[in-house]
């Protein structure tokens, strides 16, 4: 899709592939993210199905479960399998078989303003929840007089962040039993995660709306206005924020989302893509060769250079060069995926019970017991399809 594999990578890859496979031309079609699900569905059903497709990791289970992807379990042993990123491996597997291979991933971290931390007397980046809250109070003490200041910009429906807190408590949003998933939002761990979200939100004095997520309004734009000390975001959001505030890049760095246990980093949700071969593609062997070439260290390292976590290589050295990417790489060792259920893609793109639960709880519309119970049953209903 637009913005995934960097162009130098694909150019070099296709050149090498075509050199080793005479008479083959690689037709590379970049799609947009908007409407990609419909595009994929119809492309697969069309007359000339593509041979290799990129699917978001939250979509992969759906296509795998529908049995429209080639089983790559055997072939994948030649794709650097021992270096695969765990979360992407999970999203590409279904019913014990591997239907999609990892491509690349990214996860969230906490972007922060070094200059504001310095002025507020926060000496070191927080490495535990308590230190995080302490940093927030110091920031508010120093800058709180400005009505536009926000120590941490945290909108109500940033459910990816909530996931981190739930994982950190040792819980999950669903448990897997073969191909069946049951929601576990009403567990004690999930509730604890939700409570911390509320604590964090209240402590930060954020002015972000409680009923929308981090893209409406776009949090990078708000960070770019210069009055926000921290935001939980993906690395590239800094570039977006700095577009009209170029000085911001030098002033910003990042740290992984702190765990409740001092010194550890909280597990993070990893968003990313898998690669798969449609079952009706006419060039299955060529497709597998392509994947083999792509999953080699040579090309995977280019992902790290471009600020993404490689899917089939553990070599993240290039990421360490930039402080923001380094934070992402550090957190990525603890990366998790959403439940690999076929309906997850639709849940995320549409009516997400986690978002509704967050808003209801944060605004006080529902108590924690009711909010989690309602979200649990909504999630179970959604899992059922």
């Amino acid at each position: 899709m637009n913005g995934s594999a960097p162009q130098p990578l694909t150019d070099a890859l296709h050149k090498e592939f075509q050199e080793t496979h005479k008479d083959v031309t690689v037709k590379y079609e970049v799609q947009q993210w908007n409407g990609i699900q419909d595009k994929l569905t119809t492309a697969l059903a069309g007359n000339d199905a593509p041979d290799v497709i990129e699917i978001g990791n939250t979509q992969a289970p759906k296509f795998a479960a529908a049995k429209v992807l080639t089983d790559l379990t055997e072939a994948s042993s030649g794709f650097n399998k021992d270096q695969w990123l765990g979360s992407l491996k999970d999203s590409g597997s279904w019913d014990g078989k591997q239907f999609a291979v990892p491509f690349y991933a990214a996860n969230r971290l906490v972007l922060y303003r070094k200059d504001m931390f310095e002025q507020a007397g926060v000496a070191a980046v927080p490495t535990s929840r308590q230190e995080w809250l302490d940093a927030i109070s110091k920031l508010r003490a120093k800058f709180g007089a400005d009505p536009e200041f926000q120590a941490l910009y945290l909108p109500g429906q940033n459910w990816y962040t909530l996931l981190s807190f739930i994982y950190d408590e040792g819980g999950d949003i669903a448990k897997r039993d073969g191909t069946k998933f049951t929601a576990t939002l009403d567990s004690a761990q999930a509730k604890a995660g939700l409570e911390f979200y509320k604590t964090l939100q209240e402590a930060s004095g954020t002015k972000a709306p409680k009923d929308t997520d981090e893209q409406t309004p776009e949090q990078a734009g708000i960070f770019g206005q210069g009055k926000v000390a921290m935001m939980i975001a993906l690395p590239w959001e800094l570039a977006t924020a700095a577009k009209n505030n170029p000085g911001l890049t030098a002033q910003t760095s990042a740290f992984p989302i702190p765990s409740k246990n001092s010194g550890a980093t909280a597990p993070v949700f990893q968003g990313g893509s898998n690669l798969a071969v449609p079952a009706y593609s006419k060039d299955q062997d060529l497709a597998k060769d392509y994947l083999k070439l792509l999953s080699g260290a040579k090309y995977q390292s280019q992902f790290a250079k471009a600020g993404m976590i490689p899917g089939t290589s553990t070599d993240v050295a290039a990421l360490e060069a930039d402080p923001v990417n380094a934070a992402m790489a550090k957190a990525s060792r603890n990366g998790r995926a959403v439940p690999a259920t076929p309906t997850w893609g639709a849940i995320e793109a549409g009516q997400n019970p986690l978002k509704d639960m967050l808003t209801a709880y944060l605004t006080g519309a529902k108590t924690i017991g009711v909010a989690t119970a309602d979200a649990n049953s909504a999630l179970n209903k959604a899992f059922a399809g």
Binding site: T41, A66, P209, D211, A346
Partner: protein, 319 residues
């Protein structure tokens, strides 16, 4: 000179009974002239519609679609849809929403059309331009602008209300409840639907010849009476048609409802078209979606039944 008061109406008009119009060499001509339109309609609307009916009796998920499988499951899709209590809530919500939108659109459209008649050239063109811009702007832009205008923290509406002294609106969330969200959606739809209604009714009003208005005012009719005796008959049949079309469009509207809040919060702004999308394109359960589409069609026919009968039986369809 004939008064052309009954012009642009598909519904009842004074029957021109005495003169059946004969077209001499015309046994075949009507069919030939109708042919292109009918071919297009049947091939591109009729045939797919029949297929949707067929699909509603099949299980057609992603796998079956790609593999080209045909799995007949009878009325199972319908049973699943109709036994879900959510469906009835959503259906009722859709009907209420449609009714509200249609009434508002037609009334406001009529008001604007009448107003347009009485404006000076420059003001009228300004108004028409504003209307056309509202209508022609891409939906992605209009929905986003509306979301921004109503934003809890940064929206111009809340800021203005606070500036006017209504401090309670600082940080007020317009998307916190289903009813409030649907009102915002309704305003958006109204904004984009009124222009078409206004223009059509305006065209209808124009067709009432100037002499009639002059005659009415010479007879001493005030504005209200002249409206009642001249404008209203000119516009009434058009009104019915426009209301009919509005019912169809507002019932089926999807993009704006989805874009504003994806049917939330908590599914409280979900309408039938949204449900269709969730089951179909989003969830890839095309069989279930087809069943919902058929049900939607049945509801629409039921709601517009009287009008359909009126049209097909009335003297209008006679010559």
């Amino acid at each position: 000179m004939t008064a052309t008061v009954d012009t642009v109406s598909p519904a009842a008009a004074p029957p021109r009974a005495a003169r059946p119009h004969r077209r001499p060499a015309g046994r075949v001509a009507p069919y030939l002239m109708l042919a292109p339109a009918v071919v297009i309609l049947i091939a591109l609307l009729g045939w797919p519609a029949l297929q949707v009916l067929g699909i509603s009796f099949r299980r057609l998920d992603l796998g079956e679609l790609v593999r080209g499988e045909v799995a007949w499951i009878g009325l199972e899709n319908y049973r699943a849809v109709l036994s879900d209590p959510e469906f009835w809530v959503i259906g009722l919500r859709t009907l209420v929403f449609t009714a509200a939108c249609v009434v508002a659109t037609v009334l406001i459209g009529l008001g604007i059309a009448v107003l347009m008649r009485h404006l000076d050239g420059f003001v009228r063109v300004a108004l028409q331009l504003a209307l056309v811009l509202a209508w022609a702007t891409p939906i992605i832009a209009t929905t986003t602008v509306f979301q921004w205008m109503f934003d809890q923290r940064y929206g111009i509406l809340n800021k203005t209300l606070v500036a006017l002294g209504f401090d309670g609106f600082a940080g007020h969330s317009w998307f916190g409840s289903g009813a409030s969200t649907m009102t915002v959606i309704g305003l958006l739809i109204l904004w984009q639907a009124v222009p078409f209604v206004a223009f059509t009714l305006y065209a209808g009003l124009l067709s009432a010849s100037k002499e009639l208005y002059e005659a009415a005012s010479i007879d001493g009719a005030g504005p209200w009476q002249s409206f009642r005796t001249v404008s209203w008959p000119a516009v009434r049949p058009l009104l019915t048609m426009v209301a009919f079309l509005s019912v169809l469009w507002d019932f089926k509207v999807f993009t704006q409802v989805w874009a504003i809040k994806q049917g939330g919060p908590d599914g409280d702004s979900t309408t039938l078209p949204v449900l269709l999308y969730l089951k179909g394109i989003s969830g890839s359960h095309f069989g279930v979606a087809a069943a919902i589409a058929v049900l939607m069609l049945l509801i629409l026919v039921a709601v517009t039944w009287r009008y359909l009968r009126l049209l097909t039986r009335s003297p209008e369809t006679e010559l």
